[in-house]
């Protein structure tokens, strides 16, 4: 197992290198010069030229990339043109908000999709199965930015139940400890702040998690449906095991491998989806940071943020691979 982990870790390096090269070249190829976009309308040609030199944009692209690479290997992703702060600091500042949002999205998706999928798979063509299909297709087909705007209009606008934007109400939270607002509030036993955080996160997490929920529901259903006809399930029934034991102990456990694979893959989609959802809900995470960086052609920030997202995606897939072995003891990594 250890050897496998080391091999996989080394295997991520060329991926990161390739992505960094691709992103670097792509942002450079995009029309629009950062100096033009970031300086004032009143800035002169000299101001623009001075900014280009300061940011190293007067150098050939391969020199810029080499400088970036050398610095990145030392843990320095450069300075943001727009925010005049180290890119790594900006990302680290924003990361807790994105992770918090992704976590709650998964929680919402799992809470709805797993029981519904299992139930639908166990009783095909029943009303639960039909309901599950509707929920599943709704989740899969709904673009999350549109669903987010609808949630804002209906839940916040018409019903006035939840806040429409942001992450917290002024004056409620204590000082941040970990950057995870809800967790910090729980640590500080500030229940009002914890509730405040939950109120703010429900809508963006729902908008973000709905797609995952739909896919997870469909996969769970088909996976459970498949294993319900396996010999070991029939054997369990023949031995007189209760139906709930057959379902949850024998069937669901064996159906988990494809579900986990899908969850792993969808986590990547979740990260990319958060970019849009964070913008719609003014959620101060890495996604909205990336959008503002793209708009301003903030090259270091774009490259740094995309690299972090790539790294997260690679790590998630890696973690999922490791989990296979934990769930299914037949899977071994050493060969």
């Amino acid at each position: 197992m250890f050897g496998y982990i080391v091999r996989r870790m080394i295997g991520t390096l060329p991926v990161m290198l390739l992505i960094s090269l691709l992103v670097f070249m792509l942002v450079q190829a995009a029309p629009g010069d950062p100096a033009d976009l970031l300086l004032s309308d009143e800035a002169s040609k000299e101001d623009i030229e001075e900014a280009r030199i300061r940011w190293g944009l007067d150098q050939p692209v391969y020199v810029q990339y080499w400088r970036f690479l050398v610095a990145a290997l030392q843990g320095d992703l450069g300075m943001s043109f727009r925010y005049a702060d180290p890119v790594l600091l900006l990302i680290v500042d924003r990361l807790p908000a994105t992770i918090e949002l992704a976590f709650f999205s998964i929680v919402i998706a799992v809470i709805v999709a797993l029981p519904l999928g299992v139930w639908a798979g166990a009783r095909p063509n029943s009303w639960v199965d039909n309901l599950g299909s509707i929920v599943g297709f709704f989740g899969i087909s709904m673009p999350n930015f549109w669903f987010g705007i609808m949630l804002i209009l209906v839940v916040s606008g018409v019903l006035n139940l939840l806040p429409s934007a942001g992450r917290e109400t002024y004056g409620v939270a204590g000082d941040p400890i970990t950057g995870f607002y809800i967790l910090d509030s729980v640590i500080q036993r500030n229940w009002a702040a914890a509730w405040d955080g939950i109120k703010y996160i429900i809508l963006p997490a729902t908008a973000l998690g709905t797609n995952m929920m739909g896919i997870m529901m469909r996969v769970t259903r088909s996976s459970v449906l498949e294993v319900m006809h396996e010999d070991y399930v029939i054997t369990a029934r023949a031995k007189g095991a209760k139906e709930s034991t057959v379902l949850w102990h024998h069937a669901v456990r064996n159906a988990m491998i494809p579900i986990i694979t899908v969850v792993g893959l969808e986590l990547g989609t979740l990260l990319s989806g958060s970019i849009i959802v964070e913008t719609v809900f003014s959620w101060p995470g890495g996604g909205s940071l990336l959008i503002s960086a793209i708009t301003a052609r903030d090259y270091p920030l774009i490259t740094g943020t995309v690299l972090c997202y790539t790294f997260a995606f690679v790590m998630i897939n890696f973690a999922i691979d490791v989990m296979y072995g934990l769930i299914d003891p037949r899977i071994r990594f050493d060969k």
Partner: protein, 510 residues
């Protein structure tokens, strides 16, 4: 056991409810106003960007020497009590500072702070405001409360670069802590609001400075700018009571705000002049008659009435009421009337009896209904023989091309036009910027005079003489200034700023 659990649950719920109530009660004790703002929040350094919103925020916190008063159509003092130009040397400006202004920590405002500010704008590596100190040759503290600024050449519009712009930071704090910590950990301004917290890309929280000489008791105790780029979100948040001021409500959402139980609309005329520019460096826009044809082909009144739903004031000439140099009488002659027959005739006289094909471009979503407006202009032009192909690039691409002079015919705004000197020179004076390669020696000479003339009456005449040249040459059709609508909670009053800067002193809350 179950009973015990349910009792515990009930107790926890009660605790939570009590906590929520307590928080709500303490929150109501402070009069709080949250502004749903369209601009981004960039960071702690007051000189690192040059967006109108951040200029306003820093002026609230650090204080500015002076600000523009749109009602008076003149500059008003803030940290400076007066200023003057040496009649014998038009390069020499003297600013007298108020002696009663103290920083939030109680330190006195001194001329050294103003000089330090100017030097920092000039030398700070992160400064994006260098254009504002470029007219200055030097700045010196004459005594504790007097600053002398020497310009490189006579610059009658200097205050346009100074007022609402220079956020005065303390030299002593900078010397002690360095730029990074001075801004982040020890912000000590002279303005009416103290910096409480900056969350990059999200919000700036400020609190009323108790020792400030500015403002009054009706101003909010806490003033928050929260970034809300999506207009639907701003309107929903306003109607919900999450925010009290929503910037820039577009015409199609105004009714929703008006219909809200606790909300209303407040209006202001923007100082941004909207133009349809024609770059003579590109054919066929080197042809004056064709440019004149465009001006007569567009029915601006109809566009304002229908697409903008009345939310714009037609420009007669390059500027309108409230802007320096505006002359209501002379502007009547600058109104190029909608006359499609004349426009069609001009197209033929320009040498295009069978019409002409051109490319027109506009950013999308940058200005109110920009794409729809230009889409409506296309058939108007076609009617007189100008067949326009509309390009709609995203703002970043369009702006980079405009700045490099790569756009031939485009819809564009120029903001912050209080004194039209810098803006009109930037677009139309020979060699100032590559955006429009228009050149007219008569116009250049007039604008050189405008920059040197300090007498307001004479200056107004020169500005209008220069505008008359532009109206005749038509390198641009001056379209309108948008009327900006702000959504405001009923318990709040604000005179919305025409230049996008929101000052806490102008907000009153019941």
């Amino acid at each position: 056991m179950r009973k015990l659990l349910s009792l515990r649950t009930a107790a926890a719920a009660l605790t939570m409810a009590a906590a929520v109530t307590l928080t709500a009660t303490s929150a109501t004790a402070e009069k709080k106003v949250v502004i749903g703002a369209t601009g981004n929040i960039y960071g702690w350094n007051p000189y690192q960007d040059s967006a109108a919103q951040m200029y306003g925020i820093w002026c609230n916190i650090y204080g500015c020497l002076c600000r523009y008063d749109f009602k008076k159509a003149d500059y008003s003092p803030m940290l400076a009590k007066s200023w003057s130009v040496n009649p014998k040397d038009p390069n020499e400006w003297t600013f007298k500072l108020r002696k009663d202004v103290k920083s939030h920590s109680g330190a006195e405002l001194t001329a050294a702070d103003v000089v330090h500010t100017i030097n920092r704008i000039k030398t700070d590596k992160q400064s994006s405001q260098k254009q504002n100190v470029r007219p200055l040759k030097s700045a010196t503290a004459i005594d504790k409360h007097t600053v002398r600024m020497i310009t490189k050449k006579p610059t009658a519009h200097l205050l346009q670069h100074v007022c609402d712009i220079y956020a005065i930071t303390r030299k002593a704090v900078f010397d002690k802590h360095g730029p990074r910590d001075a801004d982040r950990k020890h912000p000590d301004g002279f303005g009416p609001y103290k910096l409480d917290r900056v969350v990059i890309g999200e919000q700036v929280i400020t609190k009323r400075a108790k020792n400030s000489v500015f403002g009054n008791k009706d101003n909010p105790d806490v003033l928050i700018w929260r970034k809300m780029a999506e207009v639907e979100q701003r309107v929903t948040a306003l109607l919900n009571g999450e925010i009290q001021i929503a910037q820039f409500i577009p015409p199609h959402l105004m009714k929703r705000v008006e219909a809200g139980k606790g909300t209303k609309l407040s209006y202001t005329d923007s100082v941004e002049i909207m133009m349809l520019l024609m770059n003579p460096a590109f054919k066929p826009w080197d042809n004056k008659k064709l440019r004149q044809a465009v001006a007569h082909a567009i029915d601006r009144d109809m566009l304002i009435k229908t697409i903008l739903q009345g939310m714009a004031g037609k420009l007669k000439g390059a500027i309108g009421p409230g802007q320096i140099g505006y002359d209501a009488d002379r502007s009547k002659a600058f109104d190029l009337q909608y006359d499609p027959a004349k426009a069609a005739r001009l197209v033929k006289e320009a040498g295009y009896p069978n019409g002409v094909d051109v490319e027109m471009s506009t950013p999308v979503g940058r200005y109110v209904n920009d794409k729809i407006i230009t889409q409506a202009i296309v058939p108007m032009l076609a009617k007189v023989g100008i067949r326009a192909k509309l390009l709609t690039p995203e703002w970043s691409t369009q702006w980079a091309n405009v700045r490099k002079g790569k756009r031939s015919f485009f819809y564009q705004g120029r903001g912050s036009v209080i004194d039209p000197g810098p803006a009109l020179a930037q677009y139309f004076k020979t060699g100032v910027s590559p955006r429009i390669k228009y050149s007219n020696p008569k116009y250049d000479a007039l604008f050189d005079e405008v920059a040197k003339e300090f007498d307001p009456k004479k200056r107004q005449k020169l500005i209008n003489d220069a505008i008359a040249v532009l109206v005749d040459d038509v390198p641009a059709v001056f379209m309108w200034r948008h009327r900006l609508a702000y959504g405001v909670a009923n318990n709040v009053t604000i005179s919305p700023p025409a230049n996008g800067r929101i000052y806490g002193e102008n907000i009153r809350i019941k």
